[in-house]
Every structure is written in structure tokens, then in C-alpha cells.
């Protein structure tokens, strides 16, 4: 009969609920990745330029290249990555529960996320900010003129909160019109439902050029109302893995600084510059300190190129997004990209 089954089931559920929540990391992500010979990377369900799958299911994008670089450094093969597409609601749970080794999914680094979710942000791979797209016929020159305007926005991310925060601080009343789906939100905006559309600046230019019925009828306002530093996230409590992810990204940035590219990597290995020798594992063995092979950084650059190359290929001039380097340029070229020295 059903009785014993149901009772047993209920008891099992109650017992499970009473179990203390297990620490979210056993501290051995590197071993697990090596053992299964595969990096499991949490990515987005499709953000142009950052992570998206093509018709054959192959992933590409800036966030994807970070995964590939880490797989190259750890496993010596950038293709040994399994991509798990995650939406905004499930991304952190997937990382906490160990479903993914790494979350490389255009996720904004904030104090709350860093301090309360059992996660740690590693390094910043893209500095984004939130902007506005408006129809030119409204003759707006600043977001501050959007008094009483209806503004189309997508829910479920930091975008919606930034919008209300910023206008509250300015003492301006606006009416947010919230949509759950991206398609619905831009459709509404381009059919005249709202006077402005807001989202991350990295997406705005593309929305204007590709989704607008007539791109010239729309303009992007100069204000960026938020800081959106995006970067990979790992579970808390595995410092070894945290260091690996962080330093692979730093190495990619430093490779750009020293002019090491995918193409000239082999020549650069013969360079006499001590900094390059260190970076490429010709001088002291920095890999040993991270638990990696000596040429970990060289492998990463060989797989995906330096940070500048990754940028150009996925979101920069060689991509459909055509974003300028802007604040994402190197620190010595007027940007914010600065890596601590690999030494």
C-alpha cells in the first residue's frame, strides 16, 4: 500500500531539511576539473558578444574566451569546456550547488553578491555601465530631461534598481515600464510605448543599429547611470581555484601590456625582456605556485590571444557590436584595465 512509501518519503524529506547546509565548497575544484578533464563553465543564455551559441551549438564570446583561457591553462586544451547556460535567477545557485566550476556570465560585481552569497568575484573582464536610448524626435540631450517619462526596462537584473535609484537621487519622477523578456521590452520601445529604453551600454549601440526600424531616428544619451564591472565568479572557500581564475585573467591583461599576442607568442618566448620571460614561464616557475604547469599563461594566450585580442574579436571593432575600448583600454592607454604583475 501507499502508506509506508509516503511516510518514508516524508521522513526522508524532513531529514534532509534538518541536515545542516553543507559548506558550499570542498576546496578542491582544481582536482575535480583535472579528474574529469573538463571545466564546467556557467555562461549566459545568450548575450551577444559575451556568450552565445551558434547554429551548431558552438559557444563564443568574451565570457566564453575566459573559460577557454582557463581550460587551456589548467588542462592544456581550450576545448575541454562544458558550457552550462544559466539565466539571471539561477546563476548563483548553480555555482553554489557545485553544478559549475566557474560563473563567467556578464555578472555585475556588487558588495551584496560578493559578501552574502557564498561566492567571490575574481577579476573584472569588462567595465560596463547603464545608459539610455531615446528617439531623436524628442530632442533630448540628457537623461535629466526624462521627467515623468515612461522608460522601458527589463526586470530581474541590477538594471531596474539602478534606474529607480538614479532618478530618485536626481529628484526626478519617472515611470518604469517593466518587461520580463528582452524581446518584449525592445518591441515595446520601438513601437513607441516608452520615451526611453535603458540597459547596459554594451548592448545599447547594438540594439540601435540592429533592432531599430530606422537606426538614425534614435540616439544614445551621454550619461552612464551606474557602474557595472563584470567578471567571473567562483565559490567561496577554495582559495587555490580563486587564485587560478584571477591570475589567468591578469596574465591575459599583462600579455596585452607587453605586446604578447596569439600570433607572436613563439617569437616572444625568445624575448630577453625579464617580464615577458616570467609571464611565459621562461624564467622562474610561477605555475608551481598556482598548482599549474610552468607555461600556464603562454597556453592561455595561445588559446584565445591577449585581453585586447579577446576584446576586439568579441565586442570590439572586429565584432558586430563594434564597441570602442573606452574605459576597457589598458591603464597606460587611458583605461581601467590594470593587472598586478605576474612575478
Amino acid at each position: 500500500m501507499r502508506l509506508p512509501n509516503i511516510t518514508r518519503g516524508l521522513l526522508a524529506v524532513i531529514a534532509l531539511l534538518l541536515l545542516p547546509v553543507a559548506p558550499s565548497s570542498a576546496g578542491k575544484t582544481l582536482d575535480q576539473v583535472r579528474q574529469r578533464a573538463q571545466l564546467v563553465c556557467g555562461v549566459s543564455t545568450g548575450v551577444i558578444g559575451f556568450s552565445s551559441a551558434d547554429s551548431q551549438g558552438r559557444w563564443s564570446g568574451l565570457d566564453v574566451d575566459v573559460c577557454r583561457a582557463i581550460a587551456a591553462a589548467v588542462l592544456n586544451d581550450p576545448n575541454k569546456v562544458k558550457y552550462v547556460p544559466l539565466n539571471a535567477q539561477q546563476r548563483f545557485t548553480a555555482l553554489q550547488s557545485g553544478e559549475v566550476d566557474l560563473l563567467s556570465r556578464n555578472t555585475t560585481w556588487t558588495l551584496t553578491r560578493d559578501a552574502s552569497l557564498g561566492l567571490t568575484f575574481t577579476a573584472i573582464t569588462y567595465y560596463d555601465g547603464q545608459g539610455f536610448l531615446v528617439p531623436k524626435k524628442l530632442k533630448l540631450t540628457s537623461a535629466k530631461q526624462l521627467k515623468n517619462a515612461e522608460i522601458c526596462v527589463q526586470s530581474g537584473t541590477t538594471t531596474e534598481k539602478n534606474l529607480s535609484d538614479w532618478f530618485k537621487a536626481q529628484g526626478i519622477k519617472i515611470k518604469p515600464v517593466v518587461f520580463e523578456k528582452f524581446e518584449a521590452s525592445i518591441k515595446a520601445f520601438f513601437s513607441g510605448r516608452c520615451q526611453a529604453y535603458t540597459t547596459d551600454a554594451s548592448a545599447l549601440a547594438f540594439i540601435r543599429s540592429k533592432e531599430a526600424p530606422r537606426p538614425d531616428d534614435y540616439a544614445i544619451l551621454p550619461e552612464l547611470i551606474s557602474k557595472e564591472p563584470l567578471g567571473p565568479v567562483v565559490r567561496r572557500g577554495d582559495d587555490e581555484w580563486f587564485a587560478i581564475v584571477k591570475w589567468v585573467i591578469f596574465a591575459l591583461i599583462e600579455a596585452e601590456e607587453y605586446g604578447v599576442t596569439q600570433a607572436n607568442l613563439e617569437q616572444m618566448k625568445a624575448s630577453t625582456d625579464p617580464a615577458i620571460q616570467r609571464l611565459l614561464g621562461r624564467a622562474e616557475d610561477s605555475g608551481k605556485l598556482l598548482g599549474l604547469e610552468r607555461d600556464w599563461a603562454a597556453r592561455a594566450v595561445k588559446a584565445v590571444g591577449n585581453y585586447g585580442e579577446i576584446f576586439q574579436r568579441n565586442v570590439g571593432s572586429a565584432s558586430p557590436l563594434k564597441l570602442p575600448r573606452g574605459v576597457n583600454a589598458l591603464w597606460n592607454k587611458g583605461g581601467l584595465m590594470y593587472a598586478p604583475p605576474v612575478r
Partner: protein, 348 residues
């Protein structure tokens, strides 16, 4: 009889029998005239059928861009399943559909049909999962598209129905504890949306389970769907059981059948028969509810469509055509179920 007068009589009888029906016919015709040319123009005449994004953008939504389906159909139908191995989900889906169709059309008698199901389901799982007979293993988290939708819906109904019958019987049981438990289960599960059951199955379980001990996410989600569907179905079946008149119980007892025999041979067949439309209703809704598993990162039809388009600069703006395509797939599925339900009801 003269052909023209026959047509005339038919028109008169079916479309213009009185002033009201005549007016309705005219209004509908007028509506079709306003609406159909535009639709045909959009769907066929101005449409782009080749997988050519530039041509689609040139048409600028004045015509449908079926090219998006032509370019992405493999991703939409099979999701994240490894591209080179997609003959496996194709074969598995075809096989499962064949067995379902065979059952629906009653082409086999009971014993071979049961055997076909008993073979088809393991074969489906082996084809999809691999790991033996030379097939490379493909984790269930990478299954997607139509096979996933079919698997979740079919297994959901196949397992929910017996469970629902047991629960419905439990709620009529003379044992108060059993009755209470069954009622608790039904009320608890019906009281929460499916989406929260899925979240629970997908996210809460791995966190509360001990480290290193995990149950496959597909299995957890499937169990969630079965439990959810069974709660609704059991109420439907309970309604059927109550519709069987008390005299049937007495008649069965008079024939010397014990309670279980009476239930098996007299009461249940009548009860189930009475609620076929409602059961089919549940089947249709389970089929469509499988689209909710997208929220827990299983990418069935709707999920794999979103995945295929969201990040694609060229094709993203043609999501409507994509949704129409999978809408058609869902409609075919649901319509087939309706037809099946009608043949069951007519008792052929």
C-alpha cells in the same frame, strides 16, 4: 439532383439558416477578407525561406523570415545535444513518436504494445545517454529540444497516471491515516505552482543533499512533474470514481468479486472511461507545462529556441517566426492528443 441546388441547400442549411447565422457568416467572411491576404502575404508571398540573414533583414519584417528556422532547426529541435551526434536524438524521437502513434491509432493488441513500450523507453534512454554499445556518453543536462519535451511529457503521464489512481483510491480508503496522507499530498502539491516544484527539485535538493551525493537534474525535474501531474489527475479520477453508482459495487459483490477485483474489473474501467476528456486535458497541459523546465536550465523546445536566438546578432530579431515554428509543433502534438481522446471516448 442538380449540383447547384445541392450547394445552395447546403449553404442555406449550414451558413444562412436564419438572420443571425447569416450575419455571423458575413462578418466572418468580411474578417477573413481583411485579414487573410495580409497573412498570406506575410507568411508566404513576401517571406524569405532561405537561411539568408541579409535577405531577411532586407525584407524588414514585411514578410516572414522562415530562414531563421532553416538555419537553426537543428538547434531548436535538439538543443545543446552535441552537433555531430544529433542522429541519436533524431532516431530516439522518431522511435518514441512511432510507439506513441501506434498506441494512439490502436494498431497493436495489448501484449505486443506493452512490449513495444518496454523496449522503446530503455532504447530511448540508451540512444540519448549513450555510454554503452559504442555510443559516447552525453549527460542528461545536454539533452534538449523536442526529445526532452517528449520524454518529460510521456514519462510524466505514464508515471503520473498509476500514481494518481493509487492516490484517488487512497482518498476513498477507510483508513483515516492513509486518507489524510493522500489528501495532504494532493493539497500540498496543488497548492504550489509547478515552477516552485521545479525550483525545489532543481536547486534546493542539491544544496541540502550531502556533499558528493547527487541525483541527476533531469531525474529530479521529471519526478517533480510526475508528482505535480499526479496530484491533479488523482482529483480527476476521484471524480470519476464518485460518478460510478453505488449499485455497481453491490452488483460486483453479488457476483462474488472481492473489493480489489471489483475495483479492477468493474469500478475503475467505468470511472476512467467517464473522465477521459479530463485526463486528456491533463495530458495536454503536462505536454505544454514541460516548457517551464527552462527555468531550471533544461532547454526543451522553447528553451532551445531562446538559446538559439538570444545571442545571435543576425537572427535575434526573427524570434516570432521561431515561436510560430515551435507553436506548430505543440499544436500538432495537442491536436493528436485530442483525436486520440475522441477515439477513446467513442469506444472504438
Amino acid at each position: 439532383m442538380n449540383h447547384v441546388t445541392a450547394t445552395h441547400a447546403w449553404l442555406r442549411r449550414n451558413l444562412f439558416s436564419d438572420a443571425f447565422s447569416g450575419l455571423t457568416t458575413l462578418l466572418l467572411l468580411a474578417g477573413a477578407f481583411c485579414w487573410l491576404p495580409g497573412l498570406i502575404d506575410w507568411m508566404l508571398l513576401q517571406a524569405v525561406f532561405e537561411p539568408d540573414a541579409a535577405a531577411c533583414h532586407a525584407v524588414n519584417h514585411a514578410g516572414a523570415c522562415w530562414g531563421v528556422v532553416a538555419d537553426k532547426y537543428r538547434f531548436i529541435l535538439f538543443g545543446r545535444y552535441p552537433y555531430a551526434e544529433q542522429w541519436r536524438p533524431l532516431l530516439a524521437t522518431a522511435m518514441l513518436l512511432l510507439v506513441i502513434a501506434t498506441s494512439g491509432l490502436r494498431l497493436m493488441s495489448r501484449a505486443p504494445l506493452l512490449a513495444a513500450w518496454a523496449l522503446a523507453l530503455p532504447a530511448f534512454l540508451i540512444l540519448m545517454g549513450g555510454g554503452i554499445v559504442g555510443l559516447s556518453p552525453v549527460g542528461s543536462d545536454q539533452w534538449g529540444g523536442l526529445p526532452l519535451t517528449l520524454l518529460l511529457a510521456t514519462m510524466g503521464m505514464l508515471l503520473a497516471l498509476p500514481l494518481a489512481i493509487l492516490v484517488a483510491l487512497g482518498r476513498q480508503s477507510g483508513l483515516p491515516l492513509l486518507r489524510g496522507l493522500c489528501m495532504l499530498y494532493v493539497e500540498l502539491v496543488r497548492g504550489v505552482p509547478l515552477i516552485s516544484v521545479l525550483f525545489l527539485a532543481s536547486f534546493l535538493f542539491p544544496i541540502i543533499l550531502p556533499q558528493g551525493f547527487s541525483i541527476d537534474v533531469l531525474l529530479r525535474v521529471q519526478a517533480g512533474i510526475v508528482l505535480f501531474a499526479a496530484a491533479y489527475l488523482s482529483e480527476t479520477i476521484r471524480g470519476g470514481l464518485q460518478a460510478v453508482s453505488g449499485g455497481q459495487h453491490d452488483a460486483a459483490a453479488a457476483l462474488g468479486l472481492d473489493r480489489w477485483q471489483a475495483m479492477r474489473w468493474i469500478i475503475l474501467p467505468q470511472a476512467l472511461r467517464a473522465v477521459i476528456p479530463s485526463i486528456m486535458n491533463s495530458a495536454v497541459s503536462v505536454f505544454k507545462d514541460t516548457s517551464l523546465v527552462t527555468v531550471v536550465s533544461l532547454y526543451e523546445l522553447t528553451g532551445s529556441l531562446a538559446l538559439a536566438l538570444a545571442g545571435d546578432a543576425e537572427w535575434r530579431s526573427f524570434y516570432l517566426e521561431g515561436y510560430l515554428f515551435i507553436g506548430l509543433i505543440y499544436w500538432i502534438g495537442c491536436y493528436a492528443m485530442s483525436c486520440f481522446s475522441r477515439t477513446l471516448e467513442s469506444g472504438k
